[in-house]
Structure formats: structure tokens, C-alpha cells
């Protein structure tokens, strides 16, 4: 039984149906449907401008899609604001670095972990850390950022910021983490480290991943299933081996 069959035997965690997104006359995402199954690492590849990031933005709420639905478990989240989706278990990183420069690494992680505004109102006059020190320390250790905890994010190197950026996505104990080019700009030495972290979180904590990536070796080594996009639509999906061998993929992307 293939990995894909195992994944499909279970009910999907995230169901995306017929999602489209237009910008003026340009169709960035055209009627795309896919599922994310619990416990898998899903890869999403395709040439530049094929709509991968736009698709992520539609799934996570940064964009309001022009049609289609996004369902998490049984719940339709299509009309939800991004922060509500985040609290419901969908975490993400962005293609460009997105950390809070004026805060320390610890404060960055704490911000990412804090509960909803209404929950905080009751605890406002207690400790400002809300008892989050322990989970923050756990993530600091997992991502080996402990020695940088009290440094300002603005003073970190690119690679360190990238680690922090990824670490922040895990602070809310998400069900699914959408990573947009986690390997972009990371040097080869740290790439293995990043791969290790992701695999560790996947096997030990059961975190599900959906990853957009341009680094083929990285994604084929990590993903259990890969979706290939081209010109706003899904070209094919399959195991890394199937995708690597498919002539259509080679034509639009790999071999070109």
C-alpha cells in the first residue's frame, strides 16, 4: 500500500474545493481542489507565478477567494478572517521573512502563542507572560534558538530569522502548518537541520504539513505526496517518484 493510499484512507483534515482567485483580468488560481490528510507532509510545486502562494493565501484567509470552499474537519472556514483560522489550527509562514523586529525572540514567540483577546482580558492584570514561559522554552530548544532568546529580532541573521519565523508558526499548537518556501535563502548546512526539525515535528507531534517549495531535492526528500501546479491549475499529484517521472511535469517545470 502506498503512502498516498494510506493518506486517502482517512478523512481529510483540510478540504479545498473549486477555489478560484482573479486579479483584474488575470486568473491566478483557477478552480483548484485538493485535500490535506492528517499526518502527511504535502508538497506543492510549480513554476514561478503558477499560483501556489495565492492558493495558500486563499486557504488561510489572507485573500478572499472568488469562489469555492475551504473546510477544516467538518467546519466551513471560507468566510473566516485569517486570525480565526489561525486559532482554529491553521498556521503558516510567508515567503518573505515576517518577524516582529522591535521585539526579542522570546517576545516574538510569546506573541505567537497568546490566546484570543477576550481570554486575555481576564488575565490582563496578572503576569504579562500568561504562563507561556514553558511552551516558549520548549520551542526555543526545539529550534535551537535558546541562546538568542533575549536578542532583538532585528539583530538576527537571515537564517536565524528564518528559524524564528518557522518556530512562531508552531506556538499555537497547530493541526496543519503551511510553509511557503521554508528553504528559500537557507544555506545548505542549515537545510538538513530544517528538514530534521520538520520531520521531527511530523513524526513526534503528529503535525501535518503543506509546503510550497522550489528546492526539488528538499521537497522530494520530505514530502509523502506532491501536487504540481501550472498556470493556476493542478497539473498532477502523486508520490515524489511519480512526479519526478511524469513527462508533463518535466515539460512545464523540471526539464524546461
Amino acid at each position: 500500500m502506498t503512502v498516498r493510499a494510506v493518506a486517502e484512507a482517512r478523512t481529510p483534515l483540510v478540504t479545498v474545493r473549486n477555489v478560484s482567485k482573479h486579479f483584474g483580468g488575470i486568473t491566478a488560481v483557477n478552480d483548484v481542489s485538493f485535500d490535506v490528510y492528517p499526518g502527511e507532509i504535502l508538497g506543492l510545486i510549480g513554476p514561478n507565478g503558477c499560483g501556489k502562494t495565492t492558493l495558500f493565501n486563499c486557504v488561510l484567509g489572507q485573500y478572499r477567494s472568488d469562489g469555492g470552499t475551504v473546510t477544516v474537519g467538518e467546519t466551513d472556514v471560507t468566510k473566516w478572517m485569517p486570525h480565526r483560522r489561525a486559532k482554529y489550527g491553521l498556521a503558516r509562514t510567508f515567503q518573505l521573512l515576517q518577524v516582529f523586529d522591535s521585539m526579542t525572540v522570546r517576545e516574538n514567540l510569546m506573541t505567537a502563542a497568546q490566546p484570543h483577546i477576550s481570554t486575555i482580558a481576564g488575565t490582563l492584570f496578572k503576569s504579562p507572560n500568561l504562563g507561556l514561559d514553558e511552551p516558549v522554552d520548549a520551542v526555543l530548544n526545539r529550534f535551537r534558538l535558546g541562546h538568542l532568546a533575549d536578542q532583538y529580532a532585528a539583530s538576527l541573521s537571515f537564517g536565524q530569522k528564518k528559524l524564528l519565523d518557522t518556530a512562531m508558526a508552531f506556538m499555537s499548537n497547530p493541526e496543519v502548518v503551511f510553509l511557503d518556501e521554508p528553504a528559500g535563502g537557507v544555506n545548505p548546512g542549515m537545510l538538513g537541520d530544517l528538514e530534521g526539525r520538520i520531520r521531527e515535528l511530523n513524526t513526534e507531534q503528529g503535525v501535518t504539513f503543506a509546503i510550497v517549495e522550489h528546492n526539488m531535492e528538499f521537497i522530494f526528500g520530505l514530502a509523502s505526496r506532491v501536487i504540481v501546479m501550472a498556470e493556476g491549475s493542478i497539473l498532477m499529484e502523486g508520490t515524489p517518484a511519480e512526479v519526478r517521472a511524469d513527462p508533463r511535469v518535466v515539460k512545464v517545470y523540471l526539464g524546461a
Binding site: 510567508f94 497568546q114 504579562p128 533575549d150 532583538y152 506556538m171
Partner: protein, 405 residues
Amino acid sequence: MSHRDLIVDDRDLTRARSEDRGVLSPLLIAGLALAMAFLVWFPIGRSEFTPIMWLWVLMLAGVVAANLLIPRASRNGTAVRVMSTVCFVAFLVVFPFGRANSTLTDFGLYAVFSVCVIGMNLMFGYAGQVSIAQAAFLGIGAYTSVLLDSGREIEAFGIVIDLPDLNFLLTVVIAIAVAMLFSILIGMAGLRVRGPWLAFVTLAFNVLVYIVFNNEVGITNGSRGIIVRRQDLEVLGIDMTPLQNYYYLCLAFLVLTMVIVWWIVRSPWGRSFKAIRDNSPRASSLGIDVRTYTLLAFAIGSGLAGGAGALYARLLEYIEPRSFFLGQSFDFLFATVIGGLGTLAGPLIGTSFITIISDSLRVLGDWYRFWFGLLAIVVLIVAPRGIAGSFNLLRARIAAKRRGS
């Protein structure tokens, strides 16, 4: 350069960013120090100079040196912060004591306007949303409070209403609530847009409020204003007729505001505000409700201005629509920026420019506004991070030099 680049947090920056170099060349620092020295010397030299003044100058120098040389993050750093705050409050308590009414009014305005600027800094410096309607909220607070404890009879829309004669402190609370309510209403509409567009929305709101104050003669007495007597005003059993007593009430309000805002800034709310300022799409993707938090910052900041308005009316014993027009809002904006966005000390420094310092420049005659404007331009070019921000940068650089990096 976006306003985000202008914000330097209260604590040591671990490493001053490379583009910061050159902004504060020694020459410019010297120029700024000279300007500051002039501003301190000028009011001192003008009047009320006593030898004891040198003690204050010495204390100021001590506070500045201690803050500059002792790193923020250390245990001593905390002690320095506490001591600086104590010295500052002690100055505001002791210095105006027994002085002329003009000085007490100056300091009273300083306390009241500081509250407005602290509110504006919470919105602009911490949550990153520019609102240029702070004077409108000051006015809303002032008129609300004045009308509610006057016992007057007004005519609104053809109906004659007998106004209640409520307890003064109660009217302050109501003034805060009403300002918050208006800010939430304008925020719900206005916060759909951000940045310069939000600034325009709030600016329009300020004009609109001014027109209502000016034209609803039946309620506000229009451009003739309302005389507000402090006579027989009693707060917690203390007679507020002497200006000195009332000044201490204003100061108490300022200190309370400082404590509340200090707490908010270090609370999870404060972290959310900063997250939204630094990067709101990211904050939203991490589960922070950007709209609600921005509205919250807006409501708190405007509410503070509302409370300040209630105190402002009795301080001057007179209110008129002109006091709450755009010029006043821009003064607050100027104080916020020149003091240092996103710092706790910034508003307290900045407000002295629009009250005590600008007032002492009045002796320069009709041109004092010109010199004041020129000073503003120079400071903003030399130190775009404001005085507190530049100070933090300087301290960070000294700390880095000492570490030998």
C-alpha cells in the same frame, strides 16, 4: 522611511542597524544638546530663577547620565528606571508648589496634554495607527463633562433639556466613556483603511466635531464658549478652588495614566499592538485579531483624551470650540513624534515642547511660532526617532562600544 523605522523600543537595541550610522553624528548631537540647553536655560533665565533651580538641573543631569551609562537590561537598569520616574514625578510635585498661577496653569496644561499625548502614542507609537483627532476627543470629553455637572438648561433640536448636576469625578468617567464610544464608532468605519488614509478620516472627523461645537449654539454656546467655574468644586473632600489643588488633581491623573499605560504596554495587549505595528499580516496569521486590537488601542487612546478634556475645562475655567481644532491635534502629533514614538518617556518629553517650552518662547514676540516651527523641523531632521528614541539609540551605541563590538 516609514514611521516603523522611527520607532526604537525602550530597551537597549542589541545592535544598532547599519543605516542608523550617520544619523547622529557628533556634530548633530552637539547641536541638539545646545538647542536643549537653550530650551532649559531660557525659561529658567526668564523668570522665577532661584539657586534651587541648579539642584533640579543637577538632578536632570544625573538622571540623564545614569540612563545613558547603565544598561537597561541589568538589575541596576531597573533601579535607574524607577529612580528616574520618581525624580520626574518629584519634580512635578515640588517645582510648581507655591508658584504663580501662570506657572501652575502651564504645568497643569502639561499634565493634561501629556495624557492626550500618551494616548496618541499608544495608538501611533505602539499600535502604528495615525489618528489626528486627539483634540476632537479632548473637546468631546470637555463638553461632555462641563454639560453634565453644570445644571444648565440647554436647547437641542428645539427641545429644552435640563442638564443634570453630577459629581465631577463621575463626569470624568462619563467623558472617558463617551470619547471611547465615539472613537469606536469612527474606528469601525475608519479602521477599514490604514496609514495616511486613516489619518485623513480622523482629520475629517476633527473638523466635523469642531463644526458641531461651533454651530450647535443651543448646546455649546458656539464660538462664545462656556465659562466653567471651579468655585465650590470639591473632589474627595478637597476644595478645588485654588489652582494649586487642582493642579495636583491633574498630576494625579497623569501619574495614574502613566501606570496604566506602562502596564498595558508590557501586557499581552501591548505585545499585540507592537505585533500589529511591526507587521499586521503576520500578526493576523498568528491569530491576533488585528481589527479588534486596533480598535482597542484607538478606544484607550481616545478615552484618555476624553478624560483629559474633562480636567482641561476646569483648569482654564473656559472652553471654546477653537481649542479643539486641528491645530491642537497637530500639536499633539508633533509632541508624540518629537518625544519618541513607541517609548514611554517620549510623550512626557514631547509635551513639554508644546506647553512649557513653547510658552516660554512666547517672549520672542509674534515670531515665536516661527522659531518653534523651525525648531521642530531641525529636531525632526536631526533626530527622526524623537528625543527618547535617539537617546535609546545613543545608549545602545555606548553599550556596544563598551562591550567592544
